[in-house]
């Protein structure tokens, strides 16, 4: 923001009235100056009404402890993997048809016929694996750096909930290509759910929308995969980031807290 704002005139310099108070000849602003000024005024207008710049300064320029290193980027990497999944997923939904008689055909049409379809579907497929790997590496970082300890326990709990939701994304998304592998994998996964005592059979019926794999099973998985679980994930990512910014990050465990000089003298 500060860079875009024109520097205010200083007394004694060439101000609007020029040196010695004599009115200066109005310099004709060039295209560059006009663009800079125009952008600055639009950004300024928005900033005055939303407080974006102070929020961004708080969010992006917060203090981090000494020793912060590349391991601290794993959470952001996971976030970008999620964004990639969200964007490719939205565009895959433009060609995909969640119907037991059409699903396989439409999925193979995306791969074989749609322009860049193979690329976008590949991004979504391999991106899902990358995302789950990143989550586990991020989790390992938090665990081995002790970053789950007070006062960050709640953020660990939110993170584990996010992990479970992402695994559910993997499960519900696996059915959608609707080939032999995804069909039988889903049959087995639903029956694993059915093996839970008391609630298991009801859970399986809920997932299948009935006693057998039926006409609405695939739409049910599609809706969970597209709307319900991503919505929960976005909400929880918001809470996760809020707590990260509010509580700050931890120093790596190999750094000892520095003693004050005064204390050192006493020792």
């Amino acid at each position: 923001m500060k860079l875009l704002r024109p520097t205010p005139p200083r007394p004694g310099r060439n101000g609007p009235n020029g040196p010695n108070g004599a009115p200066a000849a109005p310099a004709k602003p060039g295209v560059k100056e006009k663009t800079v000024e125009g952008t600055a005024s639009v950004v300024g207008w928005l900033d005055e009404r939303t407080g974006t710049s102070s929020f961004l300064r708080y969010f992006l320029y917060r203090k981090v402890p000494k020793g912060t290193n590349w391991f601290y980027t794993l959470g952001t990497a996971t976030l970008f993997a999620f964004l990639s999944q969200a964007v490719t997923g939205v565009f895959l939904a433009m060609y995909y048809e969640p119907d037991p008689t059409r699903a396989y055909e439409s999925a193979s049409r995306i791969t074989n016929e749609v322009f860049l379809g193979e690329f976008v579907r590949g991004m979504h497929k391999w991106g899902s694996t990358v995302m789950i790997i990143l989550i586990f590496v991020h989790m390992a970082r938090v665990f081995f750096f002790g970053a789950y300890k007070y006062p960050r326990e709640l953020n660990w709990v939110i993170g584990v909930t996010l992990l479970v939701l992402v695994l559910m994304m993997g499960l519900t998304g696996y059915l959608l290509p609707f080939d032999q592998r995804s069909f039988w994998a889903t049959v087995v996964a639903v029956n694993i759910n059915a093996s839970g005592p008391i609630v298991g059979p009801y859970l399986a019926d809920f997932l299948r929308a009935g006693a057998e794999f039926g006409p609405t099973t695939i739409t049910r998985f599609y809706s969970l995969h597209m709307l319900l679980i991503p919505g929960l994930i976005i909400a929880l990512i918001g809470a996760h980031l809020y707590l990260v910014v509010k509580l700050g990050t931890t120093a790596p465990p190999w750094l000892k807290a520095e003693k004050k000089d005064l204390l050192r003298e006493e020792v």
Partner: protein, 221 residues
């Protein structure tokens, strides 16, 4: 002496507590009352769309999705009591190929076969290929007279009873009847290891001893 009016902070009347504009006999402040009203109205409005949506999603659990349906699988001459003959039936006709399944059919042999407890004797034995472990399709191997599952190595004997691997109960069967010389296949039923009949259950649900109470029947069966 202190002239300021004495308020009884613990009184249940707002007037006694010295709240400005209190009515005689009033116990709930207007602020508190409005809080309650807003929460209640918001709660009712939220429930008004949450509960129907939830019922909509959970409905299939309570729905009878398998109406009684009889499918003909061929004349009586096609089947014998020595070996199984594979046939394809439609479990969910609306979805085409994924709704079809293979079953194995043979004639019931009263001298040799064990009767299924809890039902009329069936003229034919129609074995479901849905593995009782996690639902993979089992295959009948004539040479060993056993059913084997490709996924996790479940093995079943000639009558569908568990002989090895992880399955928790025998293979399911279907009701059978003969109409005008043709064998017809009806609905599915499950069995426990004593060949006692149960309503259809999911694979992985135990049905022996106390286990059967941990895996309830569907509300509609």
């Amino acid at each position: 002496m202190d002239d300021s009016p004495k308020f009884d902070k613990t009184s249940r009347y707002t007037e006694d507590r010295g709240i400005a504009g209190a009515f005689e006999g009033e116990t709930v402040t207007r602020r508190r009352f409005m809080e309650g009203t807003v929460l209640l109205a918001g709660g009712i409005a939220t429930m008004a769309f949450t509960l129907p949506a939830l019922g909509f999603a959970l409905g299939p659990i309570f729905e009878d999705t398998t109406p009684e349906r009889w499918q003909s699988v061929g004349p009586e001459d096609d089947f014998n009591d020595e070996t199984y003959v594979p046939r394809v039936i439609n479990l969910v006709p609306e979805i085409g190929d994924p709704g079809k399944t293979t079953i194995y059919v043979r004639r019931f042999n009263p001298q040799r076969d064990k009767e299924v407890a809890g039902q009329e004797p069936q003229p034919y034995v129609a074995i479901s290929t849905r593995c009782a472990h996690l639902g993979c399709p089992v295959r009948y191997i004539q040479a060993s007279r056993k059913f084997v599952c490709p996924c996790h190595g479940g093995v079943y004997g000639f009558e569908g009873q568990v002989e090895g691997g992880p399955p928790v109960r025998p293979l399911d069967r279907f009701y059978t009847r003969v109409r005008a010389g043709r064998v017809q296949i009806g609905d599915r039923f499950s069995l426990n290891s004593q060949l006692k009949r149960f309503s259809p259950r999911d694979p992985s649900n135990h049905l022996d001893g106390l286990w059967q109470y941990l895996y309830p029947a569907r509300p509609t069966t």
